[in-house]
């Protein structure tokens, strides 16, 4: 792009630093050499996308290969879009400032359903046809990966290839095949058919979906020799898995502006509402030695003074005490602060706790998720009130005065009693504080409760459950508010009109492709941003396409129903999900993977927690 033009555009937008590139550790390659050009697109702003770990891992893997140049692309904010459209500048990559229209691959990461319109927005700004079928042999191949591929059917019309599971290896296998097909002069269709044979690759155009009269899926038929079931990919040895030695250090502040070291994948807990707890199975840990080595390298190459350990549940790392002691020994010397997010404090030594900055800074947090033990048993959240009280008491005695509690609303079987239970539990924590003679004198306690709306997700035991309506959600929120008696309790809630939409897409089918396109044409984008989201426009889009969104949210699904995502295989058996759903209705908990294997099916990978000695 002409540099003069670029500067002119930047001089007229807010936060121009988002669009510049050239940060420390970003990769520039020599364009005169033959390169596979890969545009890694994050369908949200720079500040959000740059905070994401997956993009850093894949960026590093791709660019380590001499024959690939992977560059970053984020969704331009409205002011920049306006400048680009005025100047006829198509979407460009941050590193080269080249238009991505002529790249070999455009890759999206699907982190949340509310980013779907931004994918269309970015394709549109690039200047390629939105639909896979309309993009010819010379258009870039559009690929996507990330947690939403668990059910990517609402995007089936737009994406050529989905990657299931962890992308480290499958992405490169597809690129290698692409190179081979290109030299052999194969068509896009021929390439896609061959790609479908690679494990973890889902080519939606090779599956024919038929529907029953009531709108449910009748049959899913694989075409052109594509596999009946697409099995997700995983890294089998975390110590050997690629991890970046360097992170790009952004020049403008991003949401999570620190080094991040992944310590394990998966989660042993099996909370029944949590998709991440199922689709990343089985748990696979990195060893403390490798974590220490990788973390030190990151600190050295970035200059960050903060490192955070990343996993779904830090406390479940088997050698946590050893790891943290080892890390603190060099972190202190190098003035690096260590944060351990989502830490349970029950079985962690107090001295160690004090040294860990995240706890120091943000105070105590708990996620009981539900207000009564009954409902906690339903959702398999194995945390008891006694444990919460015990941890709070320890913390209050140690001088803490603030507690944050996270809950969900709209969970299966939830009654008014469970809602009131949230208020009562919070009240008992306030009472506990004042009952302790050792509390901090002269200081008031503060209990903050945050309530998220429950959205049923595929590959969880609750994939069969209806989602409650917005009206009912509002009623329950009001009920909770009414029942909060103490002024020491702050209740944070979101009206959350977006969770309805999230619910539609989470369990949606291919009919929704038309709705997403219609919504985009009506101006929907950045749906995850309150200031951009318009429920009215979305409802108009549903209306235009003759689709009732409640079909996807409000309905109870039978165990026998063919789900739109039934051809995806995330290694958790449907029978296991059905078993867990029945147990939930019996208010019966399931032990975690380390206590007793529940036979979910993920042991077929022959690695990780399923083969640990307990």
């Amino acid at each position: 792009m002409d540099n003069n033009l670029f500067e002119k555009m930047l001089s007229r937008v807010q936060k121009p630093g988002r669009y510049c590139g050239g940060e420390i550790n970003s990769v520039i390659k020599d364009k005169s050499k033959p390169l596979i050009r890969f545009a890694f697109c994050f369908p949200d702003t720079y500040e959000i996308g740059m905070s994401h770990l997956g993009i850093k891992i894949l960026y590093s893997i791709f660019n380590e290969r001499e024959d690939i140049w992977c560059e970053r692309v984020f969704a331009p904010w409205g002011d920049m879009e306006e400048e680009m459209r005025k100047a006829n500048v198509p979407l460009f990559a941050l590193e080269s400032h080249d238009s991505i229209k002529d790249f070999d691959f455009i890759g999206f990461t699907l982190q949340y359903e509310l980013s779907y319109t931004n994918i269309l927005y970015m394709l549109d700004l690039t200047g390629v046809p939105l639909k896979s079928a309309d993009r010819g042999d010379n258009s870039p191949i559009v690929v996507a990966g990330g947690p939403c591929t668990a059910n990517a059917e609402p995007l089936a019309d737009f994406i050529d290839i989905f990657f299931l599971g962890e992308g480290e290896k499958v992405d490169l296998e597809v690129i290698d095949l692409y190179k081979k097909c290109k030299t052999e002069g194969k068509t896009k269709k021929e390439f896609l058919c061959e790609a479908a044979q690679i494990e973890g690759v889902y080519v939606p155009s090779l599956y024919d979906i038929s529907y029953n009269d009531d709108g449910t899926v009748k049959d899913i038929k694989a075409l052109s020799g594509a596999p009946e079931k697409i099995v997700k990919r995983i890294e089998t040895d975390m110590d050997e898995a690629h991890y970046p030695e360097k992170f790009i250090v952004p020049s403008v502040e991003i949401v999570h502006d620190r080094a991040v070291e992944e310590i394990f994948r998966g989660c042993i807990r099996g909370c029944r509402f949590c998709q991440a707890g199922y689709i990343y199975r089985p748990v696979r840990e990195k060893s403390p030695e490798v974590i220490n080595r990788q973390a030190r390298s990151l600190i050295k190459t970035t200059g960050y003074d903060e490192i955070s350990l990343s996993s779904l549940s830090t406390s479940d790392y088997t050698r946590l005490e050893e790891l943290v002691t080892g890390m603190l020994s060099w972190c202190e010397k190098e003035r690096v602060s260590l944060s351990l997010p989502s830490l349970r404090i029950d079985n962690f030594s107090k001295e160690l706790l004090e040294k860990v900055s995240s706890v120091r800074k943000s105070g105590l947090t708990f996620a009981p998720e539900a207000g009564t033990q009954r409902l906690r048993d339903v959702i398999n959240k194995n945390i008891t009130e006694e444990e919460i009280m015990r941890s709070c008491a320890t913390a209050f005695r140690g001088g803490y005065t603030a507690v944050k509690l996270y809950f969900m609303m709209g969970l299966p079987t939830e009654t008014d009693e469970d809602i009131i239970g949230i208020a009562e539990l919070s009240g008992r924590i306030v009472d506990l504080y004042y009952s302790l003679p050792e509390r901090q004198k002269g200081k008031a306690v503060s209990v903050t409760i945050s309530v998220a709306n429950f959205v049923p997700k595929p590959f969880t035991p609750f994939e069969f459950e209806p989602q409650i309506s917005r009206e009912e959600m509002l009623r329950r929120q009001a009920l909770l508010k009414e029942n909060i008696k103490s002024r020491k309790i702050t209740f944070n809630y979101h009206e959350n009109r977006t969770s309805f939409l999230e619910g539609v897409f989470a369990r949606g089918d291919r009919h929704l492709c038309a709705v997403i396109e219609a919504a985009y044409k009506l101006g929907c984008k950045f749906d995850g941003w309150d200031e951009c989201f318009s429920l009215e426009k979305w409802l108009e889009a549903f209306d235009k396409c003759g689709i009732d969104p409640k079909f996807y949210t409000a309905r109870h699904r039978e165990y026998t129903e063919t789900m739109p995502w039934d051809h995806m295989d995330y290694a958790v058996d449907k029978n296991f999900l059905i078993r867990e759903n029945k147990l939930a209705h019996k208010e019966t908990t399931t032990p975690n993977c380390r206590e007793k294997c529940a036979g979910c099916g993920a042991n077929r990978f022959k690695v990780g927690v399923c083969y640990e000695k307990h």
Partner: protein, 213 residues
Amino acid sequence: MKNIRLFYKKTGNAKYVSHLDTVRFMSRLLRRAGLPVWYTEGFNPHLYITFALPLSLGMKSEYEIADIRLTDDNYPCECICELLNQNSTPDYCFFSAAEPEKKLTELTFARFVVSFQDEGSFYGALESFMAQKEILVEKRTKKGDIKLINAAEDIIDYEVKKDQNTQLHITLPAGNNKNVNPDLIIKKFLGKTECFYEINRVLLLDSDKKPLK
């Protein structure tokens, strides 16, 4: 402990990096370079670094100053620039590191070069505009309200030049006591005319109008 003054240029994309982000950038750069930098003491220790004068977003500069302290008195100054440049991007380029001669508070003036993309068409108009006795501009006070000031009185010296484009070379009061942003004058001159221009802060000067060192 030894005080070190770093001199650097902030150009290219770095002009879109705010002052706060520049502070973060420099701290990380110093850590990457592995210099024995001094940290403040107390409850929340942080890397000590202090800047002569923040640069507005969108401006580039050829003469930026940041002071740091090194814990090692014998650390050789000659290596510092090279070490920093190796760990920096070309947008932040260090050209000198030395023990300070004057205090940062002696900063009194700044010199700017404003380049218009006008193909020389502004030359005459800019000359007569600058020759006025009164150039009233709106200035935001520290309290946040808007005040009218006569910027003509504040101009220390200026020169209008032309090669392909028109350029304004101007020296204005800078620093804590009095600070005038050239952008106020340019905006006033342009009024509703749309024209792309770039402001380059080329020097920071002490009270003798010598480069602050």
